[in-house]
């Protein structure tokens, strides 16, 4: 577990989201593919901010009805993906988006893939920078409209 302090409150998540977006905007204008990483992490912090205030995480029964591994503490999930360990199934942010936020699960998943492609693989390659921007805009629009909330 990293000892680096992580954002714990909505305002900090939003501040980091804007910072990553602005850096992403600058890199995109320069034609630097790392803008995709910045856009993904901007989206990540938007989702984390939404999770912090989503009422589903105030209701144990609602969480359990979605999946046994979803709990009130899931709003604090930090890893992208969960897994199966000695304590059973855990959910990462990607899986919480998959289960709760259908409106953004395609663009969010594509943003994560683009970020992985830049950081670990051969770069954006066939992934169009335009579609990365479209995906980011879709997540941002949903957040600003208050649509990142469990049904």
């Amino acid at each position: 577990m990293s000892s680096v302090p992580v954002a714990r409150d909505v305002q900090t998540h939003l501040t980091r989201s804007v910072a990553h977006m602005e850096t992403g905007d600058r890199l995109r204008q320069l034609g630097d593919e790392w803008f995709a990483v910045c856009y993904f992490y901007s989206a990540y912090h938007m989702v984390k901010a939404a999770m912090r205030v989503d009422p589903i995480f105030d209701d144990i029964a609602r969480c359990a009805a979605v999946h046994p591994a979803l709990s009130v503490d899931s709003r604090y999930a930090e890893h992208h993906s969960g897994g199966l360990g000695q304590n059973g199934r855990s959910l990462g942010v990607n899986e919480i988006v998959f289960k709760l936020y259908e409106k953004i699960r395609v663009p969010y998943t594509r943003l994560h893939s683009a970020s992985v492609a830049v950081r670990y693989a051969g770069g954006l390659g066939d992934i169009s920078p335009v579609t990365v921007k479209d995906d980011f805009d879709a997540v941002r629009t949903a957040y600003l409209a208050g649509d990142i909330v469990a049904p």
């Binding site: 897994g83 199966l84 360990g85 998959f98 395609v106 492609a117 693989a121 066939d126 579609t131």
Partner: protein, 99 residues
């Protein structure tokens, strides 16, 4: 059945479901790497027509596969080449490939 056999069977099953879901005619390649360490499953897809519309369609189909195996693995997706593939060479991983 040993744990290793179960992992191989699970990997094969995820791969076959993914190919069926997307449709073989839409696929150039597809691979699945499942790690026994954390039961993560990395699905990498190369589409014949690799554009935004087809990627969105493929993802929607793969979400059905993710739901099906949700209690077995933690699934992630990628399009095109994937640096995670060498992980399949470790003894705790299994790989399915379609081409």
């Amino acid at each position: 059945m040993t744990a290793v056999d179960e992992l191989s069977a699970l990997t094969q099953s995820i791969g076959e479901h993914a190919v069926d879901a997307i449709g073989p005619k839409h696929l150039a390649e597809l691979s699945v790497v499942v790690s026994s360490i954390d039961m993560s499953a990395r699905v990498t897809i190369s589409l014949r027509e690799n554009n935004e519309k087809e990627q969105r369609r493929a993802l929607e189909k793969l979400f059905g596969v993710q739901e099906l195996f949700f209690d077995d693995v933690s699934m992630t997706f990628g399009f095109g080449e994937d640096a995670d593939l060498p992980a399949a060479q470790s003894t705790g991983s299994r790989q399915y490939s379609y081409a």
